[in-house]
């Protein structure tokens, strides 16, 4: 299972860049001299790569979740993909920055994950589920914990996007040249 998950991980160099950005952010927030200017340069340099790789993970995650929820029904898969494309368009809005598009992808993936987990838990309570496929309450508790954490993350994603939109509207932009196609599929 862990081997299969490797493809859904950010490459080591991207993780390294993110780590560097986090450290610089901390220094800048602490008021270290020159850190903010250094962070600005690092953001401009690293953002395109990080956004591209993270968007790629988002697309893969959404494809995997869509397949799970569609359970091999092509029509259902198609309908879900269309719904996700509408969601992306609606949430990202017009003239969204690459960062806003990435945050939109995060919201969409979060929503989809919550839907999948809720569906799997609901299936356990469905009358028609054969006894042999039912799982004990201890498992459902663990399943609910995963759902709870996914819901928290989904809500945090919405808050983060709103915050970035609100704050960036009143701040000088950091120039980032990245193109992310939100209607890739």
């Amino acid at each position: 299972m862990s081997g299969a998950l490797e493809r859904y991980k950010l490459p080591a160099e991207v993780r390294e860049r993110l780590k560097e950005l986090r450290e610089l952010s901390k220094k800048a927030e602490a008021g270290e001299k020159g850190a903010r200017a250094q962070l600005r340069r690092a953001v401009a340099k690293c953002s395109p790569g990080v956004i591209a790789e993270a968007s790629d993970i988002a697309q893969q995650a959404q494809a995997m979740l869509t397949k799970t929820i569609a359970a091999g029904e092509p029509l259902m898969e198609e309908a879900l993909e269309t719904r996700l494309a509408f969601m992306r368009e609606e949430i990202a809005g017009e003239n969204a920055s690459p960062l806003e598009i990435l945050l939109t992808e995060r919201v969409v993936a979060g929503w989809l994950l919550v839907e999948v987990l809720e569906g799997l838990i609901a299936a356990q309570y469905y009358k028609g589920t054969p006894k042999s496929s039912r799982l004990p309450p201890s498992y459902i508790i663990q399943q609910s914990r995963i759902l709870e954490s996914a819901t928290r993350r989904y809500l945090a994603a919405i808050r983060e996007l709103a915050r970035v939109r609100k704050l960036q509207a009143g701040a000088p932009p950091v120039q980032v040249n990245t193109q992310v196609n939100i209607l890739r599929r």
Binding site: L21, S25, E29, A37, V116, R163, Q168, P173
Partner: protein, 101 residues
């Protein structure tokens, strides 16, 4: 669980744990020993298979959530870096604009 042969006869004992202590309980001899042993073995195999199934289900769920978690961490780190670079800092949990940089 132990199937023991003594003097050409079969005897079956179950090990029962009570806290730290393990007690050996006599179940039966001969054919009863053989049937009890086989029935315990089948029950244990069934329980192990059930545990494995639950573990596989949990791993499946975690695998579904893992890429979204990865994406969340990357997006959050990047968003914070953008905000700090744009002149904001967190103050008592809220983002405030820094007057001079």
């Amino acid at each position: 669980m132990a199937l023991e042969t003594r003097g050409g006869n079969l005897y079956y004992y179950r090990s029962i744990r009570n806290g730290e202590a393990v007690r050996k309980v006599y179940v039966g001899a001969g054919e009863i020993a053989r049937i009890s042993h086989e029935s315990d073995r089948l029950r244990r195999t069934g329980q192990e298979a059930e545990r494995e199934r639950q573990q596989a289900e949990l791993e499946r769920l975690e695998a579904l959530a893992a890429p979204v978690l990865e994406l969340s961490e990357a997006a959050e780190g990047l968003a914070q870096a953008h905000l700090v670079a744009a002149g904001y800092r967190r103050y008592q949990g809220k983002w405030k604009r820094v007057r001079s940089t």
